[in-house]
């Protein structure tokens, strides 16, 4: 007992520098942000510094800006996560087959993922450019359009194009996860199923999908939370426009804090954001646990 205690203390002592840093750079800002969400820290306000209770939350939750931004965030999150998961699964199945050049394909598939988001955003902004973008050039050559057109001018189209840019970059991550899971599949089960007369589609739904469920859930959890936080891709491609069509929650938060100097409202947005993410994580963890129990 004595020994364990002293070991614990020693562990604490050597971990204390790291703990102190964490306190300063993580806990302190988190707490300050929380406190700010109950105060008026609007730099240009004459009542700056007063405690205002829940009024920031009332103001934010009562404004259409918040709900519209939440709606856009959810649309982006659900659509891009779904696309990434489905595409990721199919590409992984393809790369799991044995054919000439598969090793090369497996290594280059991660390239989009390796590109920094900010570069990816810039890249797609050029691709979509109405005046000299390659998307216009390709579509024109294919006869899909008669003349170069503007792609990012329509709010709804712009949102979908950001989804495409994001899916292109992040699908490889899903592919890697799924491929790793597929690699450890027991081949003999498939052979037995084939002998029993199960076709490829039956094998996919009765064997592959159930086997992959835990991995799919992990990818879904991870990606949903990440998508919710997506900022840089919007900043690069659309800056929340056109006509607010791509202004997601985090972009609204950024504008509030850094353009409008409304630190308290921005903190409120941030904490509402945290609550949503926590709720999502809790739901997913529950689902994950359930699926693990089922598997066991």
């Amino acid at each position: 007992m004595q020994l364990r205690n002293s070991e614990g203390r020693f562990a604490l002592a050597i971990a204390s520098p790291a703990l102190l840093i964490v306190c300063f750079v993580v806990l302190f800002p988190l707490l300050t942000t929380f406190v700010y969400s109950f105060m008026n820290i609007e730099l240009i306000s004459k009542n700056r510094g007063n405690f205002v209770g829940l009024s920031n939350y009332v103001q934010v939750l009562g404004s259409s800006n918040f709900w519209l931004a939440l709606e856009r965030t959810l649309y982006f999150t659900i659509l891009s996560t779904a696309l990434e998961t489905v595409l990721g699964l199919f590409i992984a199945l393809l790369l799991n087959e044995k054919f000439w050049g598969v090793g090369f394909l497996r290594s280059i598939v991660i390239i989009p993922w390796a590109i920094p988001t900010i570069v990816n955003g810039s890249l797609w902004k050029w691709i979509y450019n109405g005046e000299y973008g390659i998307m216009n050039a390709i579509f024109l050559k294919l006869g899909l359009i008669n003349e170069y057109r503007s792609w990012l001018s329509d709010p709804f189209a712009a949102m979908n194009l950001v989804v495409v840019a994001d899916v292109w970059k992040m699908t490889p991550l899903a592919v890697i996860f799924f491929l790793a899971a597929l690699q450890s599949v027991n081949i003999t089960t498939y052979e037995a199923a084939t002998v029993d007369g199960a076709g490829p589609i039956r094998r996919f739904f009765s064997l592959t999908i159930p086997y992959m469920t835990p991995t799919i859930l992990v990818v879904l959890v991870m990606r949903t939370v990440e998508k919710f936080k997506a900022f840089d891709i919007f900043y690069m491609i659309t800056r929340g426009g056109p006509a607010d069509g791509t202004k997601v929650l985090i972009y609204e938060t950024y504008l509030r804090a850094f353009t409008n100097l409304q630190y308290s409202i921005a903190s409120t947005y941030a904490y509402l954001f945290v609550i949503i993410i926590m709720a999502l994580t809790a739901i997913y963890l529950k689902v994950l646990k359930k699926s693990e129990e089922n598997n066991a």
């Binding site: 002293s6 203390r9 020693f10 604490l12 002592a13 204390s16 520098p17 102190l20 840093i21 730099l43 240009i44 306000s45 004459k46 450019n129 109405g130 005046e131 000299y132 003349e147 170069y148 057109r149 503007s150 792609w151 990012l152 001018s153 329509d154 709010p155 659309t238 800056r239 929340g240 426009g241 056109p242 006509a243 607010d244 504008l255 850094f258 353009t259 409008n260 100097l261 409304q262």
Partner: protein, 433 residues
């Protein structure tokens, strides 16, 4: 017992080491600062924040500063250069501790910075400066409620750029003097098939859109803020300006891709020969003549922005003032440095990359020689500089206006509705102050 002490001791040592690491420099600085206040001859260290792109180059600013410190051996100036986007966050994060003494800021920031206590009131210090010789538009950008919060330094505004050969082929020998004239020219150019969409704009949901809107609304006799200081977004001139934007888009006179364009896209469209007219900052003139990037080379013309009716011209201020942060421990030295940087001598010497704020320098042969065509136009254009709303709530106002104007441009709302929506929000913002 001994073990417990050892544990407490080790934590204490680590904590002290951490604190001394984080506060070490600050402590030393504080001691030095106290000494400076006591005896001004002892060395003073100034930290200054500048921007990387546009206007004076990094080399220019470094050279100016070296010249200054040579003349003032007791002052050391540390320069930091960041991208435009980083300027504001850096200023806000450091102003209270005086992390930077001198900061370069956008001309739309002084009102909100003054209200938020980010920068110092320099009205008294400015009394020694002959402000009559500085362009009024530039001076106006640093005023809030009758007090001055900075010194204009980088001078810039939007100009009308036109493709000389396209205008000639369409039968026009001079650039348009009014927006109505420009619209007619655009119609002729389009009808003759010289270019599909004659006018290119930066109407993306960004500050650039408000810059173009300020130009148009002021030219049509409007103005986002009325003479009483209250929002007047539904004013007739503003309505005319927005109608002009919507109409030219519908008629295909304005490039429909304008709603996703920023200034660089206007430049690229113009140099590719896909526009007869484009509104942009000074940098476009040199960039459009770059033989590597530009297809039109010598065909680029620069002119003052058209007016309408009694208004001869109106452009938007894109200048950047130098300010002293409220946390600065050396405001006197900071001001001295600012005065040096914005002095006639320095601005004349480095006029090649940025035109001076001083009216009298525009007749100076050395300044004229740096870029005769631009200097000639600027001299007149600077008299018509208008500022975007000089209100502390401008950030939020601009965000709202961008959204509403874009809604009108994209046909999601009619122009009247769009302006009424913006006015409602603007009144609420003004009421909060």
């Amino acid at each position: 017992m001994f073990r417990r002490w050892k544990w407490v001791l080790s934590v204490a040592v680590v904590a002290i080491a951490m604190m001394s690491m984080s506060c070490g420099n600050g402590g030393a600085q504080k001691t030095a600062q106290k000494d400076t206040v006591k005896a001004t001859s002892s060395p003073v260290e100034l930290n200054a924040l500048f921007m990387k792109q546009a206007g004076y180059s990094e080399e220019d600013i470094t050279a100016m500063t070296t010249e200054y410190t040579k003349a003032h051996p007791n002052i050391k100036v540390n320069l930091t250069f960041v991208a435009y986007e980083e300027l504001e966050p850096k200023i806000l994060a450091s102003y209270s501790s005086g992390g930077y003494d001198v900061v370069l800021g956008d001309c739309i920031w002084p009102p909100k910075f003054s209200k938020a206590g980010v920068v110092l009131d320099v009205s008294n210090r400015l009394s020694s400066v002959n402000t009559q010789d500085i362009f009024k538009g530039a001076m106006d950008s640093v005023v809030y409620e009758g007090k001055y919060y900075g010194m204009p330094w980088l001078n810039d505004c939007k100009y009308l750029f036109y493709n000389k050969s396209m205008l000639q082929k369409a039968g026009f020998s001079t650039p348009p003097a009014t927006w109505e004239e420009l619209e007619n020219m655009a119609k002729v150019i389009k009808a003759k098939g010289l270019v599909k969409y004659p006018i290119a704009w930066s109407w993306s949901q960004a500050e650039a859109l408000i810059c173009d809107y300020t130009v148009l609304s002021e030219a049509f006799g409007g103005g986002i803020i009325g003479s009483d200081g209250k929002p007047a977004i539904t004013a007739q001139g503003n309505q005319k300006a927005l109608d002009f934007m919507v109409r030219t888009l519908k008629e295909g006179l304005s490039n429909p891709k304008s709603t996703e364009m920023l200034e660089d896209d206007v430049l690229n469209t113009f140099v590719a020969g896909n526009a007869a007219f484009g509104l942009n900052w000074t940098y476009m003139y040199a960039a459009a003549q770059d033989p590597v990037k530009s297809k039109i080379g010598k065909d680029v013309g620069i002119a003052q922005i058209p007016g309408s009716g009694a208004i001869k011209s109106a452009t938007v201020n894109g200048g950047m003032p130098l300010m002293i942060t409220s946390g600065s421990k050396h405001p006197d030295e900071a001001w001295d440095y600012i005065l040096y940087l914005s002095s006639k001598e320095v601005q004349k010497k480095y006029a090649k990359n940025a035109l001076p704020i001083w009216k009298s320098l525009f007749d100076d042969p050395d300044v004229v020689a740096t870029n005769p065509e631009v200097v000639q136009v600027s001299k007149i254009q600077y008299d018509y500089i208008r500022n975007r709303p000089q209100v502390p709530y401008y950030g939020e106002l601009s965000t709202e206006l961008q959204k509403d104007i874009q809604s009108a441009l994209l046909g999601k709302m009619n122009s009247k509705e769009a302006l009424e929506t913006a006015q409602k929000v603007a009144l609420a913002l003004a009421g909060k102050q």
